[in-house]
């Protein structure tokens, strides 16, 4: 039932009604709202019960193994949430003077330092509110850099064909043309193809390394040199930083700019789709352009750097400091793990992925890049299964839900047919992974024995397989039921 279907026009929750109704006599009626807003009229119990029950219909890290590739669904320590929600943090208006927020500013400043160390970059700004906005900031800085040099002919951004969709979309948002680079059979960027397209029109390249194929591009140095020699800059999509923490640093690989997804590597919650946080780190040459506000420190006093102190900055991308509360969570997480803990993240994320990959190969699954090490994730392709049984990667994904496992990422990267991108993360136990392997094997067996069962999955969830096509064809994007339930009068 929708909350609106439990509503009654003149029911209201008195505990949440401030004061008596007050006339707005000073506001001319032309400015007044005509139609009352259609919010539900429910009791507090109805609301609490409704959303509690709704929540139970979700799979989540706290309830299920969630090996969604490229998303790093690791444990979100509860302490990070509890501490970040300290009332002294939550109660701060963004206009609060820095002198009244030294505790908070110190956390943000130290987080910037931690991220510098983790990435090997010269400076880090916390401003972007998610990975894609981090990408935006990065590419905007690339543009600002070229512009500042009067180098205005550079109109293209290069992206591997396996890149995350936000990469080309970001390049477009920054006014660039996107040129795709194919991936070689070994999973690394096709160097020849790259050579063919890099040139004076190249503003930069956006790379993910480990790539979205779950392998570390071994030619990264060559790529960097090629692009740099052509006058382009290197953008590092840091979504996969979890795999290399403490092992190799984007700065050392020659990257000029990077974004980090705190909601992945630094374990802030994914929240059913955000909020995230996508700090950007820059090399020396992009330093002048880094977005503000940033936390800075002078003689033990913390303060904000703004447009005033950073006149060449690409400026702010948020009305305030970005997703502050998420930064706090990431900071707390980083402090709990500390240097040793953060280094071990990559170790165990990689161990889990390689173990899972090897075990699946033993069980007869085909991986996309069998000759390669997995990083923190890897790709299984089910094209043989699909050919032989008609059961697709989507069907397998849905059937896994019945076994109590969230599905891996499906159909990404787009270049691998019928693929599952699997990322177990370091916080899952061997037992959990073994259980997942057993489930995948069972589903495969079912695909041969009883393909209909798999194709019609899921069978045990709150709803059966949903009709996406109908959703897009017969658009229904808001409830328009009996208005009488929510309108007064």
């Amino acid at each position: 039932m929708l909350i609106f279907e439990q509503s009654q026009a003149d029911r209201f929750n008195k505990a949440q009604q401030p004061g008596e109704a007050i006339a707005l006599s000073d506001i001319p009626s032309e400015f007044r709202r005509q139609q009352r807003v259609a919010l539900p009229g429910v009791s507090e119990l109805q609301s609490v019960r409704h959303y509690t029950r709704l929540s139970q219909k979700n799979f989540s890290i706290d309830t299920h193994f969630y090996p969604l590739g490229s998303c790093t669904m690791k444990y979100n320590p509860r302490a990070c949430n509890t501490l970040a929600m300290h009332s002294n943090f939550l109660g701060q208006h963004p206009l609060t003077p820095a002198s009244n927020g030294q505790g908070f500013l110190q956390c943000i400043y130290e987080l910037q330092e931690i991220l510098k160390e983790a990435t090997g970059m010269r400076s880090v700004s916390m401003q972007p509110m998610a990975g894609a906005q981090g990408e935006f900031a990065g590419v905007a800085m690339i543009r600002a850099y070229h512009d500042a040099r009067g180098d205005t002919a550079r109109s293209e951004i290069l992206c591997p064909d396996a890149a995350h969709g936000t990469n080309p979309a970001t390049a477009t948002m920054c006014g660039y043309k996107v040129r795709e680079i194919p991936t070689g059979d070994d999973g690394d960027v096709d160097l020849e193809a790259l050579r063919a397209v890099v040139g004076p029109q190249t503003a930069g390249i956006m790379l993910t390394n480990p790539s979205t194929l779950g392998v570390f591009d071994r030619n990264i140095k060559e790529i960097a040199d090629l692009v740099h020699q052509a006058g382009g800059l290197l953008y590092y999509d840091g979504a996969n930083l979890n795999a290399i923490l403490g092992k190799v640093k984007p700065g050392d690989m020659g990257f000029d700019v990077i974004h980090i997804n705190l909601h992945k590597t630094f374990s802030t919650p994914h929240g059913g789709g955000g909020p995230g946080s996508g700090p950007v780190g820059v090399s020396e040459r992009l330093l002048p352009f880094i977005p503000v506000p940033m936390a800075a420190k002078t003689d033990d006093e913390y303060h904000w750097l703004t447009e005033k102190e950073c006149p060449q900055s690409i400026g702010r991308l948020s009305a305030n400091m970005g997703n502050s509360g998420i930064m706090l969570r990431a900071y707390i997480y980083a402090r709990m793990l500390g240097r040793e803990g953060l280094e071990r993240v990559a170790d165990y994320a990689t161990l889990n992925a390689n173990y899972l990959m090897v075990k699946l190969m033993e069980a007869g699954f085909e991986v996309a890049l069998p000759g390669r090490r997995a990083t923190h994730e890897f790709i299984v392709t089910l094209k043989k299964l699909t050919r032989e049984t008609g059961v697709t990667a989507m069907d397998v994904a849905k059937r896994l839900l019945d076994y109590g496992y969230h599905a891996p990422t499906t159909y990404f990267p787009l270049i691998v047919p019928e693929c599952l991108l699997i990322e177990p993360t370091e916080t899952e136990s061997k037992e959990e992974i073994d259980g997942f392997i057993a489930a995948l094997c069972a589903v495969k067996q079912e695909a041969y024995d009883d393909p209909e069962k798999v194709k019609s999955a899921p069978h045990t969830l709150p709803v059966k397989r949903l009709d996406d096509v109908r959703a897009a064809r017969e658009l229904d994007l808001r409830w328009t039921g009996e208005e009488s339930l929510i309108k007064s009068g």
Binding site: L2, F4, N13, Q16, I27, R33, Q34, V37, A38, L39, P40, E44, S47, Y51, S55, N58, H64, L68, N76, N81, H86, S87, G91, T96, N100, Q102, Q106, E113, I114, K116, E117, M129, A132, A169, M173, D252, H270, G271, G272, P275, I314, A319, N320, S324, I326, M336, G341, L351, N354, K359, R373, A397, E426, E428, V463, K464, R465, L466, A472, R478
Partner: protein, 452 residues
């Protein structure tokens, strides 16, 4: 190893299965020359007890000031149930609902949100969130440029009564695509955009007009006239509004003859804590015919194999993961959890609750204004009608006054000296329903002291 469950035995068994000597070997594809020197500049780990002590010490230094500032972020009461429910693990630790059948909780909630927000805006539909109010306005501008078939212009009119930081953010975002923002002046007497000053723009082609309501000064713009003027000149109209105010103030959908085309703004007033400015969330709503230009996630209702109702991500063909470089936006992760809180907030408040909150806030602001203007050296700055936020003129520079107030424990408002130098020593103040009469009196008293 916090949060890593492996025993030594597990690790060994797993390495054996892989056929690796040790974990290090798993990184053997990384060229040796690139291998890092470790993370020595990061401090050693703390257990939860230690980190709790640390963060509480930090927090203890940051006792919040008593807040009489708005300027884009508003302190409203948030029912306890909101965040107790929002931080339930099932909401908090799920991700974008790609597997719809395993995400009906989030999906249904977002569909409810879309319903509530589009009603609040008087629009046909809403997406499922953007980052924040400022970036939502940027997306709205990009959307208007794509959507306005009648105009080929890449110029947009934006009054300077829009939040200065919103204007900065919009510019920082859209200038990369060569879009030009043309700023409209306001009347320094009444504090709003005067429709009769617009004639000068009628000769050129603009894709859209942005209208803030209330504007940054708290004043109400003449939205009906502005909307009709823009539509008459083939511009789309983008309303950028405070959603709480929309409970009692005419929402974009009711503006002028046809209503605005796009409504956007900052969702924070609806159940989101101030929290140093984030995470908040941006909202965006539009008319049916613009749906395919909408950025971000959209949830649709559909049916399952048995014909039962269910919810899915829809119109994904607009989005980056399908459309890539041709997507309506690069946004991927948005502010889902914030919208979760807002939806629960709106359900707990109901129409009556948000109306009363808005009215009570306004009544409190009126009361404060009365008390402040009774102080010598304080005048109301503008003549236009305002809503729960108002500009006052001082007889001395605002910054030192704010500093004195901060010493007395108050966040006394936002000085307009930098962004609106033409106004002289002016300050925008705001009171919400969270302040009692006593607190308002005390603040007015402190204000008088600070002016001495």
């Amino acid at each position: 190893m916090p949060f890593i469950p492996h025993t030594e035995h597990d690790t060994q068994q797993m390495l054996d299965a892989i056929g690796a000597k040790n974990i290090e070997q798993l990184f053997d594809e990384i060229p040796e020359a690139l291998r890092s020197r470790g993370l020595d500049n990061i401090p050693p780990g703390l257990n939860e007890l230690e980190v709790t002590r640390l963060i509480k010490q930090r927090a203890a230094r940051d006792q919040p000031l008593i807040c009489f500032a708005g300027a884009g972020a508003y302190e409203h009461h948030i029912p306890a149930a909101v965040w107790e429910l929002t931080t339930r693990g099932e909401f908090y630790t799920a991700y974008t609902p790609y597997q719809a059948e395993a995400s009906q909780g989030t999906l249904q909630l977002l569909y409810e949100y879309q319903t509530m927000m589009s009603s609040l805006m008087g629009m046909d539909l809403s997406n499922a969130s953007l980052y924040d109010g400022a970036s939502a306005l940027a997306e709205a501008v990009l959307m208007a440029i794509r959507a306005n078939r009648k105009s080929k212009s890449r110029r947009v009119l934006i009054p300077t009564t829009v939040h200065p930081d919103y204007r900065r953010v919009v510019k920082n975002i859209v200038n990369n695509q060569g879009i030009e923002l043309v700023e409209l002046d306001y009347c320094t007497e009444c504090g709003q955009v005067m429709v009769d000053s617009l004639a000068q723009y009628e000769q050129s082609d603009y894709a859209a007009l942005v209208i803030p309501q209330p504007n940054f000064f708290g004043n109400l713009e003449q939205v009906d006239q502005l909307t009709d003027w823009a539509h008459d000149h083939k511009m789309l109209v983008i309303g950028v509004v405070n959603p709480m105010a929309m409970a009692v103030i005419a929402p974009p959908g009711e503006w002028g003859e046809q209503g605005a085309d796009i409504a956007c703004g900052e969702g924070q007033p609806l159940g989101i804590p101030l929290s140093w400015g984030g995470p908040f969330y941006g909202f965006i709503a539009c008319k049916q015919k613009q749906v395919r230009q909408m950025p971000g996630r959209i949830i649709g209702r559909t049916v399952d194999r048995d014909g039962n109702r269910g919810f899915v991500l829809t119109l994904q063909a607009r989005e980056q993961h399908i459309r890539r470089s041709k997507a309506t936006s690069n946004i991927c992760t948005n502010q889902g959890l914030m919208v979760t809180a807002s939806t629960i907030y709106m359900s707990l408040m109901g129409a009556e609750g948000v109306e009363r909150t808005a009215m009570h806030s306004h009544t409190n602001t009126k009361a404060l204004l009365e008390q402040l203007t009774a102080i010598e050296g304080v005048k109301r700055r503008f003549s236009a009608a305002y809503f729960h936020e108002v500009v006052i003129q001082l007889n001395q520079p605002a910054a030192p006054v704010l500093e004195k107030l901060a010493k007395a424990g108050y966040l006394g408002g936002f000085s307009l000296a930098t962004d609106y130098a033409e106004l002289g020593d002016a300050l925008v103040v705001c009171v919400t329903e969270t302040k009692s009469d006593e607190e308002i009196n005390q603040f007015a008293h402190a204000f008088a002291q600070a002016l001495r």
